[in-house]
Symmetry: C3
Amino acid sequence: MTQSRTVTEIADYLGGTVRGDGEIRISGLGTLETAGPDTLTFLANPKYASKVAETSAGAVLMAPGGEGYGRTVIEVANPYLGFAKLLALFYTAPHEPLGVLPAAIVDSTAALGTDVTVYPGACIGKNVVVGERTVIYPGAVLYDNVTIGDDCIIHANAVIRERCRLGNRCIIQPGAVIGSDGFGYAPDGTGYFRIPQIGIVVLDDDVEIGANSCIDRAAVEVTRIRRGTKLDNLVQIAHNCEIGEDCMIVSQVGISGSAKIGNHVTLAGQVGVAGHLTIGDNVLVGAQSGVPGSLPANAAYSGTPTMPHKEWLRSSMIMPRLPEMRKTVSSLEKRIAGLEATLKLTAKEN
Amino acid sequence: MTQSRTVTEIADYLGGTVRGDGEIRISGLGTLETAGPDTLTFLANPKYASKVAETSAGAVLMAPGGEGYGRTVIEVANPYLGFAKLLALFYTAPHEPLGVLPAAIVDSTAALGTDVTVYPGACIGKNVVVGERTVIYPGAVLYDNVTIGDDCIIHANAVIRERCRLGNRCIIQPGAVIGSDGFGYAPDGTGYFRIPQIGIVVLDDDVEIGANSCIDRAAVEVTRIRRGTKLDNLVQIAHNCEIGEDCMIVSQVGISGSAKIGNHVTLAGQVGVAGHLTIGDNVLVGAQSGVPGSLPANAAYSGTPTMPHKEWLRSSMIMPRLPEMRKTVSSLEKRIAGLEATLKLTAKEN
Amino acid sequence: MTQSRTVTEIADYLGGTVRGDGEIRISGLGTLETAGPDTLTFLANPKYASKVAETSAGAVLMAPGGEGYGRTVIEVANPYLGFAKLLALFYTAPHEPLGVLPAAIVDSTAALGTDVTVYPGACIGKNVVVGERTVIYPGAVLYDNVTIGDDCIIHANAVIRERCRLGNRCIIQPGAVIGSDGFGYAPDGTGYFRIPQIGIVVLDDDVEIGANSCIDRAAVEVTRIRRGTKLDNLVQIAHNCEIGEDCMIVSQVGISGSAKIGNHVTLAGQVGVAGHLTIGDNVLVGAQSGVPGSLPANAAYSGTPTMPHKEWLRSSMIMPRLPEMRKTVSSLEKRIAGLEATLKLTAKEN
């Protein structure tokens, strides 16, 4: 899979600048500690700058102006991003198109783009549309009337229910469920009447969904996740939610029905979000927080219920000291009672 | 799918009363804002009553005595429930029975009721019994000796393990697992000895299980969920639990082993419940709460550990003010020390 | 499945000692309350010792020296473990090897050990290696180059992605995902660049993974779970984690990337663990806790953020009393102000 390239070729690929010997051949990537002479490494965190002096790497990716300690250097504005791009360049390749493999189950009314791969055991329903180069792994199930764009990857045993739509370059990890019924019931006096969930889910381009995550279809309209947003594993998105662009929704987050999340929002692990609220753009919510109401944009929040993150840091540090504080308050009460008694006595004596 | 009906026909269907023109033909449903002349809408929340004046809907479903602003009205006791029933009437239809489709895998000893549908890629084991009109989607797996009632829907890639039993009208969303092994191990001095989980899961009639939720089989007897209870997505029910009738278990709730939950209980999102406890009927537990012990019936609780909901509301509002309170206590300490010093001085002077 | 054995045979099997009639034939197991004359029961908790007097069981498993009330007794050091072993002896049997069943999909390059069972609908990719006696249920998917040891059970619809490796006697419950892509993205100024996740997951011998749990593959190296560790359902293990031996990870726990967990660690339900930290051996973390940083070995912790468990018990009991405490502090403030005013007055008067 890995093919060697010169330092100059790599610098050109990343739009970077070489300092040192551009003819060195690089055939793989490693860490500052493990990289050898035919290997490239990177320095992203200035904390580790001195390790560059000791690395055996053939070349080091770093920010412009960094100390090279005599090593061959490729300068790029964002070395971490550069390294990620080289990981892709050296160690990954597009999936070779294999067509519809035997034992794949594809309804005759489905329309498959060129160069798709449909593995054995995958099931594709009526009137499904699948774009070019999309790969569908074993056991993935596309219900009737699903539409999927180009260059998508639908991993094993993922399920996309009827009429849901995916854009281009979406990646669905194994076991994820897109379009399960929303959790909607009308109390009928004794039990619950199931409200039909007749809407759909729409994932825009470049959306990625983690393993065993669940996105419920809307009651009557659309549950939507916009371009570039990434969901980690075991995330729950309830019916009628709207999630903006380029959000990061970390593992085990749960978002209740009809919540509206802005762009560039990060929800850390195990956060819970109540329904029918709005979270503004660029909000960051700390792990395990519970969001009971709307959150204004451009700020960080934590806690259950959420408060500004800095307030939470202060408050949560007091938690372990509450018993001591309680004792102090009790002792103050006694001392004040003592003072009050003394003063009354003094007053009488006077 | 939608077939038009007169206002009078709809009123009869719901057991309601017409005020206005019963001959208007309705062919679909909409919101107060979006409904047109051949569309019916509903008013459930009195807050929006004035919007009835502006709606273009052909008819409005509302509670008896509501102001109709000249619109044709159908009066029903519970307009939200009525609307849910009309959603079902207009936009859903029973699944057309398709029989056992090619590439479905059905053991020859399985007994399938009339009018079932078994999709390609579904697997049905030995001695399985499936009731009438039940639909089993692709990739769903029924282990040996499973019994499923009439009119059930088993969605794609759901798994029902050996000997588990489902009643009638159960709905299992995609990827849910019924009957996984309970988490039981006996420490043997160095590691853990696996305790065989030889019990089963029983779901009574009208139970619904959300996508990727897990219900563990009992160690030796039965994990049971009673009639009408609904589970949302990604819920965990441990071995030997008993969940009562008509409960609502919201997404990402986890219930530990041998817990006993009453009837009409609501557990909001991400609640955790400890094992070997009892939660009484009609209890409501707020989102993200942790229930460490039994909870008496007919009350609302929140917090970790749980306390009465109203207490929690007050306590949690103080959390952000703890740093300020701590400062106050420190300053009171100093002021009291000052007062004490002054009084001693005064005492000496006197 | 159950075959009768004499009390003496059972005592020999467990390495225990008979007090009473060793010739009694036992054909099953029950509780102290339900066991009959041909049934064996056990006493593990001394709290229930008096129930031995009333049981109808043919024999009772108990710790050496326990009061037998005239019953036939088998003495073993750990009666709970002994009972678990008898459950296995009486009620379970190894899976009969069935070979590769029709409609199983096995690539011609896969190497299957003797006495395997591969059920219909299971998919096994290129160059997969499966050990002896391993059972692979319907819908389970093994991507290319997976290696699985002897005596493993891969339940229905579990997914093991490319190149991941499992030891011997691993059990994967239905729907679990091993080797999903780690959640790694490099911000590129506008959105996120996906960092290729080219590492793998390695599960050592005797590891068990609960239903619908997810273990992400490492970015470049290995996500590892060591011998004997058990995961409950719906657990999330992020990329590059290392989990030690004989850990118990309870349902809905989430562990962030590159966390290093020691041996014999117990994480109770819904715990969240931050990334890039170390948890020492024998640590116990209470349910719903949030672990923000490293935890020293041999101790119990609780709370968000975690503190020593005993501190948390005290702190959390004060939570419901915060409103009252706040009132006390307010009233103390007033009383001090009053005292200060009085003293000033007194000072002036003097």
